[in-house]
Subunit: 507 residues, 2 copies
């Protein structure tokens, strides 16, 4: 049933920048009565392919208008569409139906219970990276890989596909250290400290970090309040060659770029399941060229990992996948029952990091101890010291100022050190009665910080005044909410009032 | 940790209708520098609650603009937002952060493998019906109920929640007949014929139908080319009181309204799994007051139900759920190996229906036989005739013209009979070689009809010229593509060229 084709010349419209902000969502507006919509039979929410004169292609969601924003010869682009298509105002854009996205058939197959092989994951991740998935497709992919969990084979395929879809770094040094914390614990900002310690002893740690998934701050969010983090590959390489280390945002260097697309939806859905977690973590590490990675697994009743059994199982799965890629991992299980440090939120956590690096007497000791433990594991894996001697070696770099010196040098190399912002609106929550702090709901605490504006508003978040087991008297402050906007502060306070079990005080 | 609140007076903006078409997506535009965005800390893609002066509330997705579409005191509404909020231009709208959607926690729970109970489904369906879910949440719910299939208990809970979320009809007649076809077979448009037959014999059949989910036409789409189908409850009741029957769109009468919201996303994802299928079908029937339902299950290698075993299992599950609600069902398994009738697409299927009802000699015999079989089951279940005598009774109403008379009366009662539209663009696909039609890929055939514009473009679709086993000579037409737009025609033809296995001719 082959037939001759006489498909017409492409339909052209003139590009128009709308200054319409939709985050990463690629949207094009056209008039209902525009000739392209009529002749192509396009309707609102059609997926369309836009091609620039230079041949760059994007897939966009069409919304139609019946007003004077556009002429019938214009296509209006959201900022995300504008940036990705890379055109100028008034240039020709060719418009057609979006091609069928072949890999969606694999997602449907998995929904109906089928397992996916390597080519399927390559197709899915390739289409995601190329921007061919609408948000509902991304959400479906995520949910599908969760409700019927990915098996180890599938996680390996997914990891490989995610690595292949982006850049892959290689370094002159044969040993490349890295660390990762499996989130879920507010304020656990050890990375900048660990990187500074390890690099100050001459090891290489080209650290790429993600922004927050479901937490009020990711390492990249916190680090951004101290120095630029959106370095490209070339800039990152220069910083690492100069300083032996960096702390940059992984998305900007296009290591496992699909991860950043998926994370946006995972954040909106507030889900982050094992298979995707492992693929996300390991694809970044492997693409960054890491050879030895320490994994910090906080365990606690309201942390992401709820029990030691689950931590051990996750650790085993991480190591099973890592081995397939020649990567050595070492997991440490840490206390996940309460936040680390005092601050929760990008800038507030940065101030904790600075206090530790500057060896201040009031520095949060829990954050300091954790960072030392992780650095110790890295140094022991790297053979810098004997097993058991890593702690002392790490702590020495904080006491003698070499870690702080190294951190400043890294910040300068990344584009200049900054002072983190301070929120204009604050309000403290006071204890209603005297007693001991018996329990903390870390998930609700995170939500409170997010309602205050974190991580998008860098200065927003919480400062904790007490820790588990501490005694408090009635009317003493338990924590202080920081916000950049009055509305956000009110909204957070309203949430705190409706959820008295965020902190449990027992007499 | 209770605290005093001094949340400020609500933030007001003036409503502005944008004439922005986004289908059902509820979107509000505000300027980045509008005081509400600043004080509330709102960003692009924030979910916000809009409240009208009369107290009506909707949840919308915020997109921000930095242009002259709006002043800093205005909130621009998409058509969907405008209709749902029911305001006039320039009236006050109060804006706040959308409240946390509690039921999303249950969806996350299910993603992590948990089963849901009745209150959970009530919460989810209530939030969906109230418009509190963004599209990614809907997609996640659908995927979550698919990858880990719903068990019978969960399907009952979901069905009940879907019934409870909408209107529920009751009728004076104790016996209310209904029928449903589990889709997947193009052109299977028996409903209008069955309704006409059954009603012409004095039985009550208040038929509500859905629009297409993944097919090129639903019964409501086809019926709409013959008469108005978006009747409200009062109008529907009047038609049924007058004529004993109706054929209306279920969405307009708010029977199981969540179903229509879910169907929009299922259609975009092209998935429709067992649990949701059963809840969707039965919630509509029960809410419509049905007591006896015939279920048509077409079985074929590319139909929705692929084997007799699966059909039996689905039939068992349907009946298990139906029994919980006191509903009697009878399933019949029909040939699902090829399309029914000649037309595929709303108007083209309507012409087939008319030919059968008008008892024309060229009427498609397969469609006629199927409709008679289903009507026969209904009449036998209803006790109108003995088991086995339903066929003859049904056929008689077609031969003596009473069914056609009844159908016209129903159309007139629904608002007036119409002539289905005819497509301006057609093109035939010709056989490349002589031989017999050995196989049809119904899924690809449906996709071809959809690419031609069905079901949104009513006249679009396909007309089949041969059936399985028919002989054809080279250059003879196999099927004709109908389209309302030249672009859609080209696109369909391009797809046909790339998929020669839609129809398989063997020598």
């Amino acid at each position: 049933m082959t037939i001759a084709l006489d498909v017409e010349a492409p339909h052209l419209l003139k590009s128009k920048r709308l200054s319409l902000y939709t985050q990463d969502e690629v949207i094009v507006l056209m008039r209902t009565d525009c000739p392209v919509c009529i002749s192509e039979g396009l309707t609102s929410r059609s997926r369309v392919r836009l091609t620039s004169v230079s041949g760059r292609e994007i897939i966009a969601t069409l919304y139609q208008v019946e007003n004077d924003w556009l002429t019938t010869r214009e296509a209006g682009l959201s900022e995300a569409a504008w940036t990705k298509l890379g055109v100028e105002d008034g240039t020709d854009i060719s418009v057609s139906h979006a091609p069928t996205v072949g890999s969606l058939a694999d997602i449907r197959r998995r929904i109906y219970g089928g397992r996916l092989d390597e080519p399927a994951f390559q197709g899915i991740i390739g289409d995601i990276t190329a921007g061919r998935y609408a948000d509902i497709h991304l959400a479906t992919f995520i949910a599908t890989c969760s409700a019927l969990p990915l098996d180890i084979k599938e996680i390996c395929h997914l990891t490989k596909a995610m690595i292949d879809a982006g850049e892959r770094l290689s370094w002159e040094t044969p040993m490349i250290l890295d660390k990762h914390c499996v989130g879920g614990l507010p304020g656990n900002r050890t990375t900048p400290i660990v990187v500074a310690i390890v690099a100050s002893l001459g090891f290489t740690m080209p650290k790429t970090s993600s922004r927050a998934i479901t937490s009020p701050a990711g390492t990249a969010d916190t680090m951004e309040t101290l120095a630029p983090v959106d370095l490209d590959l070339k800039q990152m390489r220069r910083v690492v060659e100069e300083q032996g280390a960096c702390i940059v945002w992984g998305g900007a260097v296009r290591l496992s770029p699909a991860d950043d697309i998926l994370i946006r939806i995972e954040r909106a859905l507030d889900i982050d399941t094992e298979g995707q977690l492992i693929a996300s973590v390991l694809s970044k590490k492997i693409a960054a060229g890491a050879t030895h990675v320490v994994i910090d697994l906080p365990v606690g009743p309201t942390a992401k990992v709820r029990s030691l059994d689950k931590a051990k199982s996750l650790s085993k799965h991480i190591s099973a996948v890592a081995t397939q890629f020649g990567l050595e991992t070492r997991s440490i299980f840490t206390d996940g029952s309460q936040p680390v440090g005092r601050g929760i939120g990008p800038a507030l956590e940065a101030y904790d990091v600075l206090a530790v690096l500057q060896n201040k007497p009031n520095a949060p000791q829990d954050l300091k101890k954790r960072a030392i433990s992780i650095a110790a594991q890295a140094l022991e894996m790297a053979g810098h010291v004997e097993e058991g001697a890593g702690q002392a070696a790490s702590e020495a770099t904080l006491l003698n100022g070499r870690a702080w010196e190294k951190f400043q040098a890294i910040c300068e190399a990344q584009g200049g050190m900054r002072t983190p912002p301070i929120a204009p609106f604050t309000r403290s929550l006071l204890a209603q009665s005297s007693g001991k702090l018996a329990a903390i709901d870390n998930r609700k605490l995170s939500r409170l910080a997010k309602l205050a504006g974190a991580p998008n508003q860098k200065a927003a978040g919480l400062v904790m005044h007490i820790r588990l087991g501490d005694s408090v008297k009635a009317t003493e402050p338990l924590l202080t909410v920081h916000a950049e906007a009055k509305g956000a502060l009110d909204y957070a306070i309203e949430y705190a009032a409706a959820n008295p079990d965020i902190l449990t005080i027992e007499e």
